[in-house]
Symmetry: C2
Subunit: 208 residues, 2 copies
DNA sequence: GAATCACTAGAACGAACGCTCTATCCAGAG
DNA sequence: CTCTGGATAGAGCGTTCGTTCTAGTGATTC
């Protein structure tokens, strides 16, 4: 309009393969994921997202014509994969189930403290805010939980635990991790996470 | 202004002792608590509260001059006591710790299902949304968690568990209940709650 | 009867919300 | 070259947000 500048769009000069669109879309999703994690769904505005992602409103609605809901669902799926990576890393760190689970809580505690007690579970806040009211987000959340549960269940199975027990224990392991992270976050103290890790290890030990 | 009606204010005719103010204030707090539980802090507007509580905006700001934050903090304290009552009832239901804890999860599951999976923990959503950003709410949340933890710890102590163990177990019991309720809510299924109840009972059994 | 006080009542404010819209840019195809 | 279409750009829509403000109510006190 007023500024016919020769701005080079946003192609990063390097990366000759992927076009600029991939970069912008990814930047929007990642920014949204982080903001939803810290401020929740209702507390995060689309204009704030576009500002912090250094993308314009037009770009946001270009990539996510479904608006805020579609964008949030994509961010939830991003958080899903992010947490899955951490979970696989923690659980795979040791052959001993008890040791692996405490490594998991240790990792969560470190990350939480490093962020100033801000970055808890990437999807919990949004999940609670939208439960029963935004189906497209609800579904992304349900898929994330199912994904994580499968990861834990497979790991328990590989550790020699009976299939039925593994399925049930996966539920409780995840529930306790979720609750412990929430508790650590509001208390600004990593103790609840570490304590729950030890108790989970003790519980698992009764199954061998 | 336009309507000089002879509306009897809101004194309920009966109850000669307490004045009308108590009724209105309580009504506002209870409505806020329920709305925060279901929609979270950012998703709940003061005008919606005044509408559903059948109180005017003037009344809301009369009783809570600190605005939305002060009102939310009062609602959190209300939810604190509400959950404490349920906790005491569940834990006191049996002399056997394992049985008492599964009764607790049973009660939570019933309530959750009866509300159409809407009414989870009365304070979690608001707690997560405001952590690190609204000190007055953060403090009310911290007090609630401490209150519940003390209730569980005292109960474990009375059940003959060592003081140090009781303190730590109280953490994990609460964390797991919180996580299980969240999980049950998003899955629209009471299984996670019941399963976690059994696992908690099993964990407690290893301490006798 | 006048004054006081706790409470009710809702119009109005500036700011922010999600979203729509038109306009423009630019790389590649013909 | 022109043409096309994905991507960028942001002004502006109607609505709602939290809060402030003035006015008015009915019961109580001197």
């Amino acid at each position: 309009m007023k500024t016919p500048v020769t701005k080079p769009a946003n192609k990063p000069a390097g990366a000759p393969e992927k076009t600029a669109t991939v970069g912008t879309r990814e930047r929007i999703v990642r920014t949204t994921s982080r903001l939803l994690q810290r401020q929740g769904y209702e507390g995060t505005g689309i204009k704030q997202i576009s500002r912090e992602a250094e993308a314009t409103l037009g770009s946001v609605y270009h990539f996510f014509p479904g608006g805020k809901q579609e964008l949030a669902a994509a961010a939830i799926r991003h958080g899903d994969e992010e947490f899955a990576v951490l979970l696989r890393a923690g659980l795979g760190s040791s052959a001993d189930p008890g040791e692996a689970i405490t490594t998991c809580t240790r990792m969560l505690a470190d990350e939480l403290r490093a962020s100033g007690w801000q970055d808890g579970c990437p999807i919990t806040t949004t999940a609670l805010e939208t439960v029963g009211r935004v189906p497209v987000i609800e579904q992304a959340v349900a898929e994330a939980f199912a994904n994580w549960r499968a990861i834990v269940a497979d790991w328990l199975l590989a550790a020699g635990i009976d299939a039925e027990d593994a399925r049930e224990l996966a539920d409780t392991v995840l529930n306790t991790l979720e609750g412990a992270e929430l508790s650590a976050q509001v208390a600004r103290d990593e103790e609840p996470l570490l304590v729950s890790g030890r108790h989970l290890a003790r519980l698992l030990a009764t199954y061998r």
